[in-house]
Symmetry: C2
Subunit: 146 residues, 2 copies
Amino acid sequence: MAGQDSALAAARPSRAAEPARGEEVSLGPLAGLVGFNLRLAQDASFRAFARHAGQKGLKPGRFAAMMVIHHNPGITQAALGRAIARDKSTVTPLIQELLRRGLVDRQPSRADRRSVTLKLTGAGEAMLADLLQHAEEHDRKLDALV
Amino acid sequence: MAGQDSALAAARPSRAAEPARGEEVSLGPLAGLVGFNLRLAQDASFRAFARHAGQKGLKPGRFAAMMVIHHNPGITQAALGRAIARDKSTVTPLIQELLRRGLVDRQPSRADRRSVTLKLTGAGEAMLADLLQHAEEHDRKLDALV
DNA sequence: CAAAACAAGTTTGATCGCAAACCGTTTGCG
DNA sequence: CGCAAACGGTTTGCGATCAAACTTGTTTTG
């Protein structure tokens, strides 16, 4: 999932995973490897959810980041990165975008002058609530397949 | 699993998913979303296998591509792309690298002058056999977790 | 307590992947 | 038959992500 990536994110029509008409391609042992199927599943999940999130202009990882911030107000960027499995250098621009869009609020930490604390703004909470509905709906479908 | 990605690929120590010392971060509903967990699992799987594949200098996706070519000699690039869920424009450089390394052989298709046919070379088969051992071992561990 | 090790956040560089544009070929249909 | 639409492969542009280097601040340790 790396390549794009996050389980829940941006909009993309997808040109890669297209079913392909009556095509017979043997995957051999690949068909049974958990890692390989994980990749396909993750990719499919990503693309499906992306349709909804994308309508709100949300890019990969934004949804997951907002979820974590919502449930952990005051969390730092580093901790957020660990929670969503993203490098801290990836979190920096991600947060900057959410700040620019007025979805999160950033305050210097009183306890540790190196770090900052994050929380969602009212607008952020509102958008998250809206997205969560779609996410759960999407997830129920996905869960049914597993 | 975009960003890099592919379930089975290149070498990387990983700085993102580090466990984090006694840290309590609530994932909220995120913890139950299939898509989110799929992402984490795929990422972990990718990194774990990467250690082995990376030793052979294999980049993301190469292993999966070689597996499919092995089991489908004469397959075209487009069909390969569909099998491993990669865009055709991603397959082009991937195949060029395998060609350069002498792992695959490429011949113009006799049936369709637009396409090419792919098959592994002796060296390609040898490397694949070697990697497959590690992949299956890795997969058994992964499967045990699921 | 001072030095060394470590952590938070940013910047910069490299890589992988998709998407769109493009060319040549093939196929489908009127 | 003839032409439009679809397809195979390549090229180019862009976005997401990680890694390493750096700065500032904190913790550990001798």
